[in-house]
Every structure is written in C-alpha cells, then in structure tokens.
C-alpha cells in the first residue's frame, strides 16, 4: 500500500494538480511544445517527440513543463539549458530499490527508459521489454554467458524477458502474443507483428476479434482452439512468455531462477492464469484475460507454449498411465497362470 502511494498516487495527484493549473502554464504545455517538437520540419533526432506516442504514455498527464520547469518565453533561443526532472523525484520507491543495486553503477534510469515513451509493464507485449537490455547486453554474448549453466540458453534468451529471471518478483504471469510468419519461405520465422499488420488481417472488427469471437473481451479455451485450427490464420501463431507479476528493479538474481524451481517446479496450478496481449494503435499493448488453465490444454489451446514440468496435461498423464498399466497385464496375468500351473512343468 505504502509503495503504491509513493509510486503511483503521489505523482498522480501532483500531475493532476499541475494539469488543472490555470492559463499561462497550461498554454505553454504539451500541445504548444509539440507544435515544434512533434514536427520533423522543426526539430530532428532526439529532440523529436512523437505526439501520438507521448499522448498515450503514463507521463502525458504531466504535460511537458512539469519535468522541464525552467522553460521560459525565450525558448528555443535562450542560452541556458532547460531543467529536467529526475525520475527519483516521483518514482521514489522503485527508484530507491534500483539505486541500491550494483546495476545502478552501470546504467541510469534514462539508459533504459525514454521519459517520453514510458509504458507500464502490463502495457507491453513481454519480450519487447528486452529491447532495453539489448542496448548493452547483446544476445549472442548473453547466450554464451547463460549457456554455462542454463540448458537451452538460446531458447530461454529468445523467449523470456530478462527481468523474469533478474528481478525480485515473487511470481510470474503468462502472456500470449500473436506472432506472424515473416515471409513465404519454407520454415520462416514468426515475429511479433505491429498494430498495422494485424489490423490489416483482422479488418474492421479489430485485432481482438481474431480470437475473441463473441466480443466479450474474454478469451475462452474454445476460442483459442478455434483460432489455432482456423486455416485462415495459418500464418499466425500464439507465442507464450512469462513476465514478472510484480514490478521490481532489483536486478540481482534469486536462487530459484538459478535452480529452475521458479518456473519448472511450480506445478500446473501456477499456470492457471494467462493473458493475451493485443497491440494498440499507440504502440502499447492491452492485456485480455484468458480462461483459467487454458495453457494446460493437451493440444490446441496453445500449441507452441509448453514448459517442461509445469504445463503437463492431465489427460495425457492418464493415457500414459493406461499404456504403462497395459504393459503389466502380461507379467501379472501370465505370471499368475504360470504359478497355478507350475506342477505341469516339473519334469
């Protein structure tokens, strides 16, 4: 609760206060700044701020001047550099947690976050969170580093957000993404498509309608199966990943990630809850709840998402048990008859 207050409520109130501040300041706010800073003819490079992106970020509510307080009428011709708020002013709790770690010596908030493009964790697809890390930690190097102790390191690095293993989160959530075949080649790769691509496939009904047939913003197992078996969507598949359920910036690594228990020994009951992440027009994602236990379905629920140890299907277990018991029929049945007729073989 405390952390929510510091991290969310306080900045929000602050933001709202500023938002409702009268005239002069307001006149100078976002729309005004973006006349120049959203226009490629006026500015370029890092000075350019995509208006549509900024407007949908959690920071839009702050406007520009909250963070660039020292702005005055001289701008852009003034001599002094404009002030920039530091993240720690508002994100005290998360900020402090990060500043305590070793990693604070290697990267600042700004190295991972562009203040004009911030997104909450649940407004991201999942794997895209790694774009931050890849700026400094390259994929091949990471595969080599983790290969030393991690089976199938290439698979883990290709499928999981780094922060699922490298934070103090107590749990994880399963997030499904629609991925699309990249080209017509045989064995082509499947990648995360952008909003436009999916929008073209789904047409007017909207991306969610690709899977959510009845339009109730809830995905049932039946809808998943229908999607996975629909020949029309042959070039689309569902990829699964696991993201931390709590936001933490403690990048040190817990033992349960090292000995695999966090994900693989947590049992099927930990795989009940899952979400589908659907891209929004603004570049963010929205999460749609999926029916409980859908990822545990034996075949067509999520054909590409299988985690050894945890997503075993109960029906397959039963079939396997029947097969193994079938193997006992011969020794037990025959053995019994053999015992009963043992006299016949005493020569």
């Amino acid at each position: 609760m405390n952390c929510f207050y510091i991290d969310k409520l306080l900045p929000m109130i602050l933001g709202l206060m500023l938002f409702f501040m009268p005239c002069s300041l307001l006149a100078m706010d976002a729309d005004y700044c973006l006349m120049c800073h959203g226009d490629t003819d006026m500015v370029s490079g890092s000075l350019l701020i995509e208006a549509t992106t900024f407007d949908t970020t959690a920071h839009a509510i702050l406007g520009c001047t909250t963070c660039h307080e020292s702005i005055d009428d001289e701008h852009p011709n003034g001599d002094s550099k404009l002030s920039r708020a530091t993240c720690l002013d508002c994100h005290d709790h998360l900020g402090q947690e990060y500043m305590m770690t070793d990693h604070a010596n290697y990267a600042t908030c700004g190295d991972c976050h562009n203040p004009h493009e911030v997104r909450a964790m649940d407004a991201m697809a999942g794997y895209d969170m790694n774009d931050k890390c890849f700026k400094c930690h390259e994929v091949p190097a990471m595969v080599d580093l983790h290969k030393q102790w991690l089976p199938q390191a290439n698979l883990h690095i290709a499928k999981l957000p780094c922060i699922t293993c490298h934070t103090g989160s107590e749990g994880y959530e399963i997030v499904l993404n629609i991925v699309a075949k990249q080209d017509d080649r045989f064995l082509s790769r499947y990648e995360l498509p952008d909003y436009q691509t999916l929008q073209e496939i789904s047409g007017e009904a909207g991306i969610l309608s690709l899977i959510d047939n009845d339009g109730d913003s809830f995905i049932t197992l039946r809808e998943l199966k229908a999607f996975n078996r629909n020949p029309k969507y042959r070039d689309l598949r569902l990829a699964g990943t696991m993201v931390p359920s709590d936001v933490s910036h403690d990048l040190s690594t817990l033992d349960n990630r090292y000995d695999c228990t966090f994900c693989h020994v947590s049992g099927p009951q930990s795989m009940q809850t899952s979400f589908l992440a659907i891209p929004n027009r603004d570049g963010g994602y929205q999460r749609i709840q999926v029916e409980q236990g859908a990822v545990l379905d034996a075949l067509y629920g999520t054909p590409d998402f299988y985690m050894v140890g945890t997503t075993r299907s109960a029906s397959m277990n039963i079939i396997g048990l029947i097969i193994i018991c079938g193997g006992l029929v011969m020794p037990v049945g025959h053995g019994l008859l053999r015992f009963l007729t043992r006299k016949n073989r005493q020569h």
Binding site: Q152, L187, C260, I323, G327, P331
Partner: protein, 224 residues
C-alpha cells in the same frame, strides 16, 4: 540330463549394447518421470541436473542405437534375418509362438523355438522387436533430439504442429517403451530356470536343452 551343449548366442558388442541400453533406458525413465513431475519426484537431485542427466542418457542411447544398427546391418549383416519376420513365420510361426506362451507353456510343453546365433528370436520376439527397435526407439530419439534443440529447429517444430504435440508424442512413445519393460523382464524368466536368459545376456552363452524335442529349427543347422 544327457546333453548339455552351449550355444554362443549373444556376441560381445551386442551384450555391451544391451546393458548400456538397459542402464540408459532406466535412467531415462526415472529422470523423465522427475522432469514431468518435479514436485513429486526428486530422486536425482535438482531440476537442472536431472535435465542434463536425461539429455546425456538420451544421447548415449541414441548413439548406441546407431552403433547397434550399423553393427547388425554392416558388420554382422544379419539385421534382416534376425529382426524381420518372414512371411512364413508370420503365417504359422507367430500363431504357434502365441499358442505356446498362452497355452501349451502352462501345460508344460517345450518352447517350439530354439534360439541359434542366426535365428535367435522367435516370431513373436521378432514382431515385438521390430516395432520397438524400428519404430519406437527411432521416434523417441528423434523427438528427443528435437526437444533439446527447440530454438534452432523451431521452424520444423511448427511445421510438425507445435511444441506441445511433439512433447506429448515423446511422452506417449516413452510410455510405450516403459510398458514394454515389465513384459520384457518377465519373459526373460521363462527359460528353464528363471535366470537362464539373463545369464545368457551377461555371458553370451545359452545352455543347450536338457531334453531334445522334435521341433524344427527355422533356417539354421541344429547344434545337436
């Protein structure tokens, strides 16, 4: 208790292969069970080590399978003869063998099949081994190799219907192999003494029969 002739039935490479395989398959079974049910089975250490063990045992069995295959096809050149039942065997031999195991054995009759180096399996064994060695083993190894290389082989896996289908297939194939184990071990006790066949697999030599019965020896010269 007249004659007690011995037949050299299992050459050394075959015996090495057999015990390597036996050990490998038992390791795979136990580690596989732990990989699937890690909350309940913790016999072989932590999850990571059990994965490594399963993968290693899998590769050992797959490689030893390959060697076995080449040994019989190219060196011993007896693969087809030993493992592929002939038409005639299927027509009469199979029935006769089934009749023996499920009827006349209980009446105390002799096994109609007498193993010789060139024809060591009876028609029932041949059919069973054919299914196991030429269908189950290659498929379980192949799916296993796919699963240890998910990322590089992703495209092929998608083409096959997805990771889940592959996993379930591997699991069910493994269950079939496991189901065969009790039957296999039980049948080894059906010799003249319960340990006779097991000794053969260890020493290579099969005891000749004490009683000579009139049954025919398919395709070989009798040792008596």
């Amino acid at each position: 208790m007249s004659e007690n002739k011995k037949v050299y039935l299992q050459p050394t490479p075959v015996r090495i292969w057999h015990w390597l395989n036996a050990f490998g398959i038992i390791t795979l079974t136990v580690s596989g069970a732990q990989i699937r049910f890690p909350e309940y089975i913790t016999l072989l250490g932590n999850y990571k080590s059990v994965i490594y063990l399963h993968n290693t045992a899998g590769f050992v069995v797959a490689i030893s399978f390959t060697f076995w295959f080449f040994y019989y096809v190219f060196i011993a050149r007896s693969m087809a003869n030993l493992y592929v039942p002939k038409v005639e065997e299927l027509k009469t031999g199979l029935l006769r063998q089934i009749k023996f195991y499920f009827l006349t054995y209980f009446l105390g009759w002799e096994n109609p099949h007498h193993p010789t180096p060139k024809n060591k399996f009876n028609p029932m064994q041949k059919s069973a081994y054919l299914a196991i060695m030429f269908v189950l083993m290659p498929l379980v190894s192949l799916t296993g190799i796919f699963m240890t290389n998910v990322e590089p082989l992703r495209g092929v896996i998608v083409m096959l219907g997805g990771l889940k289908i592959l996993m379930n297939f591997h699991f069910l194939l493994a269950c079939c192999l496991i189901a065969f184990l009790p039957t296999h071990m039980y049948l080894t006790t059906l010799g003249h003494t319960p340990l006779e066949h097991i000794k053969t697999m260890w020493t290579g030599w099969e005891e000749g029969e004490e009683e000579v019965s009139g049954s025919e020896h398919i395709g070989t010269v009798s040792t008596r």
